[in-house]
């Protein structure tokens, strides 16, 4: 039980989710955010906040994005907590809506 950030976040990283999360469960990587599944309380607030529609309930993650469930869990242990929106990448709009971004993920 937790929500999961998927491919849509890669290189877009709008961080509106961070502003609304009541329990500060987002972790920040170089070009993507993840949710710490041990901190998420399933409040659903981040889902409509994400302009890229990149956040899903773990049971509803599209089949082709299932790898992100494990990725969120793994990187939550590594990446640092983020509780304030930072600077959005300058080329975010170029990456918006693109598929097959997994290969561009930086760890």
């Amino acid at each position: 039980m937790a929500y999961v950030v998927t491919e849509g976040c890669i290189n877009c990283k709008q961080m509106d989710c961070v502003e609304v999360c009541p329990v500060d469960c987002f972790r920040e990587g170089p070009n993507m955010l993840v949710i710490d599944p041990n901190e998420c309380v399933d409040c659903t607030l981040c889902v409509p906040a994400c302009p890229e529609k990149a956040i899903f309930r773990d049971g509803d993650v599209p089949v082709e994005q299932h790898q992100f469930v494990a990725l969120n869990e793994e990187m939550a242990e590594v990446w640092e907590l983020i509780d304030e929106k930072g600077d959005v990448p300058a080329d975010a709009s170029d990456w918006s809506g693109r598929v097959g971004k997994f290969e561009f993920l930086q760890r």
Partner: protein, 347 residues
């Protein structure tokens, strides 16, 4: 109660306590955090108390908080407004082996149910009461509640509330509750710890949980929940530890000559002048004074205020019944009916 054989308790996971219902609160509600933290600690509570899931009951009244039993994979009642403690009492007396929880809110517990809450606490029924305090009526869309602050503008107090707020923990202490604590929805570690200690307590345990209603009273507890300010605005009560707080732990709550609390810098006083927190204090004077500390003049105390050992209501009931049975062995019902004063009505 008469269970002597050890039960074979399965090893539970957090998921075992989640029902098949999808929680329905407003997105971002503090209730999600309380539910999640409770489900996270339930496996350990089940193990430590040797209570199987089927011996756990969650009883609620009316309000947003009272949707709770639907989401727990245990037994539960969504009962009538303010009356959850009465159902808990009947159940716990007849089935003392159960672990009974009451989930309530500031409206349910302190308005319509204020009377029942007080008597449940004074009786020391073995029940764990989680009081979600969001200082507003959420389910009915934003009217002032018994804990709304003076001057609070709501739909039912457009010019500001003219009633002073109740302090749930002061009432609990005055009602002689044997376990009294406060936690915050956005501090998961504190919430998990306090819930666990409440569950392990034998007797009436009440936990006031500051819960953010992000729709009708957003930010009511921001001073104690924001990561940046909470260390400076809360006093974490720990048994045997001094009443020291602040990010640098450089401030203390002490009593002056008139026994009134005040905040001092720790550098201004000697270590022997620090007050040491004692949850086993039966005389409630200092504990009551702690419950009255209000932000911004004082830090908000969180954690366990009081934890006392005392016989429970159901223990006393069963002891009395058993003693009466011992002194006067069971008699046939007809014999009993014929035994007292009887008379014949003239025709």
């Amino acid at each position: 109660m008469n269970q002597t054989e050890p039960l074979n308790i399965p090893t539970y996971q957090k998921e075992d306590f989640a029902s098949d219902q999808t929680p329905r609160w407003c997105p971002g509600c503090g209730d999600y955090s309380i539910l999640a933290q409770l489900q996270r600690v339930m496996p350990a509570i089940a193990e430590q108390t040797q209570t199987p899931r089927e011996n756990m009951v969650f009883i609620s009244g009316i309000g947003c908080s009272s949707r709770f039993p639907y989401y727990m994979n245990t037994y539960g009642f969504h009962s009538i407004h303010g009356r959850a403690p009465t159902l808990a009492l009947g159940l716990q007396v007849s089935r003392p082996e159960l672990m009974t929880w009451v989930v309530t809110g500031d409206g349910d517990a302190l308005s319509i149910g204020g009377n029942h809450l007080m008597h449940c606490l004074r009786r020391n029924l073995n029940v764990k009461i989680l009081l979600f305090n969001n200082r507003i009526y959420g389910l009915t869309k934003g009217q002032y509640s018994p804990t709304s602050e003076l001057g609070k503008r709501t739909k039912s107090s457009p010019l500001g509330s003219v009633a002073r707020p109740l302090n749930p923990l002061s009432i609990a202490l005055a009602s002689q509750a044997t376990f009294v604590a406060r936690a915050v929805d956005r501090d998961p570690k504190l919430l998990q710890d306090v819930i666990t200690q409440a569950a392990l307590h034998k007797g009436s345990a009440i936990v006031e949980i500051y819960q953010n209603c992000n729709i009708f009273n957003d930010g009511a507890f921001a001073h104690v929940s924001e990561r940046k300010s909470r260390d400076d605005n809360t006093l974490k009560l720990q048994h045997g530890e001094p009443l020291v707080f602040g990010r640098q732990r450089d401030k203390a709550v002490v009593l002056n000559e008139q026994l009134q609390p005040r905040v001092v810098a720790t550098s201004e006083i000697s270590e022997s002048d620090l007050l040491i927190h004692d949850t086993s204090r039966d005389n409630s004077g200092l504990t009551y004074a702690l419950s009255q500390l209000q932000y911004p003049e004082f830090p908000v105390p969180v954690g366990i205020f009081r934890a006392l050992k005392a016989p429970t209501y159901e223990e006393r009931v069963h002891q009395q019944v058993n003693e009466a049975k011992r002194q006067k062995p069971a008699t046939a019902l007809q014999q009993l009916l014929d035994s007292g004063e009887t008379w014949r009505v003239a025709e």
